[in-house]
């Protein structure tokens, strides 16, 4: 049978010729894709398992709530402060950027800004760290604030893009309804559009926080020489923080430090996982609300 010709209608309905080859290829693709998906889960599983297995030993109340050498309380607090300040900077800016993209900018302006945000999102964090070092640390001193600015730069594109996607989900009929009532645009944005999208905006912020909380490179530049024996929330001095401590503890070559590093890792992973899961639940809820 030549290719392209109509097959003999009376032949049995089993695969023939080209079709058999295509079926093999199709199966191979399917198995390849499935394997890749399983691999991703397996890698995550191994990482989480290792962290739990090695870190669980270190965990106790003293470890979480006291300062060095027995505990890592100041580090948790410091990371909390740095991330809080970073989010306080990045969230309003990010949401405003998203509002500009969806509510005010035309296609011509929105495109380049969107691409810029995506590029910014791909910026290596070591470069952001170096930039902040040159801008806020060099000739001055390390500070939690410098670290927070660096993390804010990392969070900004995540929050802006995430919020934009959510704002795009707000049905246009809401904007029309608000417009048709003779209410100024900014009031519509504040009173109707933002509240509809709030769940999603909070979600993308939480995901950005989760990402920022584990960033190490900028903190090595901005907040790595600190006193881990006391609790501090002053962002004008270098603050103890989780990622840098994980790094230094595991570099020490002291078995106890190594265990502590794992324990700290476990805490960080758990917090991030918890935040992500909570955020996703929130997002699902807000999407359901918008769809009904």
């Amino acid at each position: 049978m030549s290719s392209g010709a109509i097959p003999d209608p009376s032949a049995p309905l089993t695969p023939s010729g080209n079709l058999r080859r295509r079926q093999i290829f199709s199966k191979a693709t399917e198995y390849g894709a499935t394997t890749a998906a399983i691999l991703a889960i397996v890698v995550l599983g191994i990482v989480v398992y290792t962290v739990v297995a090695r870190g669980a030993k270190a965990l106790n109340l003293d470890f979480v709530f006291t300062a060095a050498p027995t505990g890592i309380g100041p580090e948790l607090l410091g990371t909390g402060v740095i991330v809080l300040v970073a989010t306080a900077i990045a969230m309003p800016l990010g949401v405003l950027i998203a509002l500009f993209l969806t509510e005010y900018a035309g296609n011509r302006a929105a495109g380049p800004i969107r691409h810029t945000l995506d590029l910014m999102n791909g910026l290596p964090s070591i470069i952001i760290g170096l930039f902040i070092f040159g801008l806020l640390v060099d000739h001055k001193q390390q500070s939690g604030l410098a670290a927070a600015v660096a993390l804010a730069i990392i969070e900004l594109p995540l929050i802006a893009r995430g919020s934009q996607e959510i704002l795009l989900l707000v049905p246009n009929s809401m904007r029309e309804a608000a417009d048709a009532l003779g209410v100024a645009r900014w009031r519509s944005v504040l009173g109707v559009i933002l509240p509809s999208a709030l769940g999603g905006i909070v979600t993308s912020t939480v995901l950005a926080v989760a990402r920022a909380a584990g960033e190490t490179a900028p903190l090595i530049f901005a907040s790595s020489v600190f006193d881990a024996s006391r609790f501090s929330i002053n962002p004008l001095e270098a603050l103890p923080n989780v990622p840098v401590t994980i790094y230094t503890l595991s570099e020490e070559g002291n078995p106890e430090g190594f265990t502590q590093a794992w324990g700290l890792s476990l805490l960080l992973v758990s917090l991030i996982l918890l935040a992500s899961l909570g955020a996703r639940a929130l997002l699902a809820r807000s999407k359901r609300k918008m769809a009904s």
Binding site: G106, N107, P171, S173, M174, E176, A177, A178, D179, A180, L181, G182, V183, A184, R185, R187, G191, V192, P195, S196, K289, M290, S292
Partner: protein
């Protein structure tokens, strides 16, 4: 627009002009009755003069001239894609948000050019409310759906009464008075649409534009919307776009028939005939109107 003169009669091209003359006394008398202070001349709320609308290079509407009279219901009927909704949305500048939208000709609202440079869109819509094809309540409580716009427009005094009046006006009060704090999204489609009408009349606009307000509703909900229109007539000037000819016949004082016209090459929507509803349905002048209302095309 100081040059505008109420006594001036622009005579648009036939055949609509013939029909116009024939229908003149009726709206005049009605307007005098309901308003009292307006003596003889029927007051036009909208006076569209040779309006053409473009979306990019595409001409959606060609040369529409018509007057919409105060306190009455004017229906825009015609087949899909003939520019009825485009025309309606030009009456409160809702089309402005379409990037490639362009309008030619003039739309006068109480004698003011609606597309003049100093006209503010928000102010336009403050006076000319609109209800859309698909009910679009805000994801808020029933009460807040109505109260949101008055609050934002500084009408905070007596808000509860205002909400009640609006809901009564939209014949929805009895159904929702016990659950004003519940989400509006829990209402049925017909109730949601009446809520949207209540929301629109809560700010006491001058005009209500209704874009196929009943097309997404079942016959019972449709009947209640039509009843509602009758009760709102007189208080508001109403312009309604509808696919449903019977609906136009039931509710409207005047009916404008739009159709696609391919005479100038590329087909584009245009006004075929405008007269009082009875004339359009019983004695249409234009053969295209006759075919459409008798169901022979469309």
């Amino acid at each position: 627009m100081n040059g505008y003169d109420w006594t001036e009669r622009r005579e648009p091209a036939a055949p609509s002009s013939r029909v116009r003359i024939q229908s003149e006394p009726l709206p005049g008398a009605a307007a005098a009755d309901s308003n009292g202070h307006r003596s003889v001349t029927p007051e036009a709320v909208f006076d569209a003069q040779d309006v053409s609308v473009f979306y990019g290079r595409k001409k959606a509407l060609t040369g529409v001239s018509l007057r919409i009279r105060r306190g009455q219901i004017t229906a825009l009927i015609g087949p899909s894609g003939c520019g009825k909704t485009t025309f309606l949305r030009s009456l409160n500048r809702m089309n402005d948000s379409v990037p490639s939208f362009r309008i030619e000709g003039q739309v006068l609202y109480h004698g003011h050019d609606m597309y003049a440079g100093n006209v503010d869109r928000v102010e336009v819509r403050r006076r000319i409310g609109m209800v859309f094809q698909k009910p679009n309540p805000f994801p808020k409580s029933i009460y807040d759906n109505i109260a949101w716009a008055p609050r934002n427009l500084g009408l905070k005094h007596g808000l509860d009464e205002r909400v009640e009046q609006a809901l009564r006006g939209a014949a929805l009060w009895d159904e929702v008075k016990d659950r004003l704090k519940d989400s509006a999204l829990g209402l049925s489609g017909g109730q949601q649409q009446r809520l949207c009408i209540a929301r629109a009349i809560a700010i006491e606009p001058d005009v209500l534009l209704l874009d196929e307000p009943a097309s997404a509703l079942d016959p019972i909900a449709t009947a209640s919307i039509e009843e509602l229109m009758h009760s709102l007539k007189g208080r508001f000037t109403i312009v309604i776009v509808t696919h449903n000819m019977q609906q136009a016949a039931r509710v409207a004082d005047h009916t404008a028939f739009f159709s696609l016209d391919a005479a100038t090459g590329e087909p584009s929507g245009t006004l075929v005939e405008f007269a009082d509803t009875e004339t359009i349905f019983a004695h249409p002048v234009d053969p295209r109107t006759r075919d459409y209302v008798s169901g022979r095309f469309g």
